[in-house]
Amino acid sequence: MPVVTLATPDDFAGWRDQARALAQARVPLDQVVWQVAGESADLLEAAVTETLPPSDSSRELRVPRRFVELAELAVCHRDADRFALLYRMLCRIQDIPKLMEIATDDDVYRLDRMARAVRRDLHKMTAFVRFKEVQSETGPVYLAWFEPDHHIVDRATSFFVNRFATMRWTIITPERSVSWDLQALTMGPGGHRQDVPEEDATDDVWRTYYANIFNPARLHIDAMKREMPVKYWKNLPESRLIAPLIRSAGQKEAAMIAKAQEDAPKRAAIISRRLEEERDSIVIDAADPLGRLRQEAAACQRCPLYQDATQTVFGEGLPTADLVFVGEQPGDKEDLAGHPFVGPAGAMFDRALDDAGIDRRRAYVTNAVKHFKFEPRGKRRIHKKPGIAEINACRHWIESEMEVLKPRLTIALGATAIRSLTGQSASVLASRGQVLSSSFAGPVFVTVHPSFLLRLPDEQSQKIEYGRFVDDLKAARELAARQAEGARP
């Protein structure tokens, strides 16, 4: 019976080489004995090659990457059966290439459990190692004592090198020790708890933190023990506080609750008053009525949309503009930026204005509804059409804007703007290019909303509709110009 002796308890490379040779020689599973050098004295050490049938090196062994990843972890497990399990799985995978996908297979399940236990042990080592600073001739050295459950020390070192590369440190465990001298790692034999000093001066500062970050009103001992099992406590400097903190928690909590409201310190009133004065000192320019409206609208709660939107997006542009454009509502981008028509539809709008010979800076651009209405979907917000109640609630602002602006022509972009300006539900396509009347906005020229162009499915119709939109804008511009002429004495 072949006895395979591996150099160390976590000797993955050794296992891989031997297992490959054994599998190529088709050595049956139950005929291999796996042992680690120096671990089991009663087994005779026998050179594998002597007892092996001739290996068939042409037999190609294939394993999925996931098996290798888990196997590298599992060899660190303290279960004596780990090498045999891995060999059995290596052989089974040759017959069932997708074995690793079958999470309910007994071997796969066991391997997964082993790898998980090792991963947890590694994680706990990175969490619970506590360095003690010791002065030496070459400067401070940091020593730690740790007791892992599995053979993980070698595998764990990369974490400590990567984090503490500029410190000299040694971690000692019962089985093995590892030292870093700023240049290289040295692996050594195991040691004892006494090899590392009990205390470090900073441990007291750490305990001060530990005691004060604890909230006695939230006592939940099981949750603590689940994540920081008691077996680790003996090497954690903070653990001596656990019992007294638990004992006094009830009393402290009762004190927190019972302590009645006291009189505020004298300086509180002074500070609060100063803060209020600062806030009140913000002056509003009376000569800028749109600015005043913008400021009032920022606090608007006329409909519930303010609750989920980021901010009120008020109109922007020249107060003396001849043309006022009214869209539907701010979208995702506008809501974040606080400016109208800056998202994808805004870019389309800008391009069309340009092609129609309209200077956006000489116009005024606003929306019928000033808050973004949306439906949350995962990490995105999906635009939702504003309802009549929201349009009506927001009409106050558009009316106020119009009162100041008194434009020659208002351009309604889409159905929501029509509804807002005229109070009527008119079809955009039916009334497109027409001039409707509004009780507060003067003549209203109707066209589509630029987002309509973004929703068209094919390039051909996009091109046609874009052209029509630009033509509408040109018509609106000319209409406003004619009205300007007509208005001239």
Binding site: I102, V161, V205, T208, R218, L236, E262, A264, Q311, D335
Partner: protein
């Protein structure tokens, strides 16, 4: 007032920070100190909890305030201007010293620094940025930094904060704007949301830049998070869920933390002086997970509530399933992923395992024990070739799913 030494200050300023629930140190970009001659620190990406206090919460970061002096008077906060709590203030250098001392001993993953508002939002933010700058530039510290961001601070300061910090957070404080107006009269929900929106825009810009230029500077690579206090002002779970869903969708938050309102010494009489609602907090986190990982829409999550509240006795997924019994049992071997995700007792990982296994072999009842930690719950909701729950689910009452100990308690 007696001058406090460093430990005295730490006691005050850790105590002042203990009501903040967030502590994550995950999600940032991997980096390390191997090959470096100066500095210290690394990020593995996964986050490490270095200790746990008896409240069951982890210590991953050194979570402190720079100062607990504050000009604001938020009633729920122990550091409000009208509170008689002991006050202290660290210098930026002191914070740096404690952080590095703790880090070298492997007590912590990094620093989570917040502050009361002193003088002005800009002055306060500058001080926070100064600590991060010292750590990164003077000490070449490569560990985790989470900075609390002051909503009204100048965008230039937020920009600097994002260049030094892994994560930034702005607390929404309370789920409803009306509660904020009542309990934190000097804070404005509008400016909090605007600051979060601004952060989202900046985070996305930085991501775009990185896609175009590999060496573009990172901006808060672990993103932004927020916290809301639960149970301070009679808000319903519906209010809270709606609010956090709106935050997740609008500002791409990595996390919304829920913090059960904890009685504070000398608290205002307007606030509940009782044990923090810890189970409620737990249920809210579960509901939050349904939205983020289990493909529940906000309406689905809300369908698990009764009169706007989640059931304290049942996890919200089970509560949802009991209200939709006719959809069960789900055939494990044929159901689509989104249906499997609805099964009480199956987690996301288990569902994905099921999908892989069943391409190769039919699952049987005994296999489920390797995929679920709660077979007792699971068995009523699934069908397999050798298992059908029959009418079990029709007869089941919510009490049937409670652990035995809890059932006994409810008798009294």
């Amino acid at each position: 007032m007696a001058r406090l030494d460093l430990r005295g200050k730490l006691a005050v300023l850790a105590d002042a920070a203990k009501y903040d629930a967030s502590c994550a140190s995950s999600g940032s970009t991997k980096r390390g100190s191997a090959g470096e001659t100066k500095g210290i620190g690394s990020i593995t990406g996964a986050g490490i909890c270095h200790s746990y206090t008896p409240d069951g919460r982890c210590i991953s970061l050194l979570k402190i305030l720079l100062t607990n002096h504050c000009v604001y008077d938020c009633l729920y906060c122990v550091n409000r201007v009208s509170s008689n709590v002991a006050r202290a203030r660290f210098t930026p250098e002191e914070v740096v010293t404690i952080t590095l001392d703790f880090y070298k001993r492997n007590y912590i993953e990094g620093l989570f620094l917040s502050s009361g508002i002193i003088r002005s939002p800009n002055y306060t933010m500058e001080q926070l940025v100064q600590v991060a700058r010292l750590l990164r530039e003077t000490h070449h510290y490569r560990g985790y930094i989470h900075l609390k961001t002051i909503p009204d601070a100048d965008p230039c300061l937020i920009e600097q904060a994002g260049l030094y910090a892994d994560r930034l957070s702005i607390n929404v404080e309370l789920p409803r704007e009306q509660s904020l107006t009542k309990l934190a009269p000097q804070k404005q929900a509008g400016s909090i949301r605007k600051a979060m929106g601004g952060l989202r825009v900046r985070l996305e810009e930085a991501e775009d830049e990185r896609k175009r230029m590999r060496h573009a500077r990172r901006f808060a690579p672990a993103g932004q998070s927020t916290q809301m206090i639960v149970g301070a002002d009679g808000e319903s779970d519906r209010d809270i869920i709606r609010s956090s869903v709106s935050l997740y969708s609008g500002y791409k938050l990595k996390r919304v933390y829920y913090s059960a309102y904890s009685p504070i010494p000398g608290s205002s009489q307007d606030l509940p002086a009782k044990k923090p609602p810890l189970i409620r907090e737990h249920r809210l986190y579960q509901a939050d997970w349904l939205y983020r990982f289990y493909e529940f829409s906000v309406d689905d999550v809300l369908a698990a509530t009764t009169d706007g509240m989640l059931d304290l006795d049942l996890d919200p997924k089970l509560a949802w399933a009991l209200k939709h019994r006719t959809l069960f049992p789900i055939d494990v071997n044929t159901a689509p992923r989104e249906h499997l995700l609805r099964v009480p007792g199956l987690g996301v990982k288990s569902v994905d395992k099921i999908l892989r296994v069943r391409r190769l072999a039919a699952l049987r009842f005994a296999d489920m024990a390797k995929l679920s930690r709660s077979m007792k719950t699971l068995q009523d909701f699934v069908a397999l070739p050798d298992w059908h729950p029959g009418k079990a689910l029709d007869r089941a009452t919510p009490a049937d799913f409670l652990p035995a100990a809890q059932k006994q308690l409810s008798l009294f």
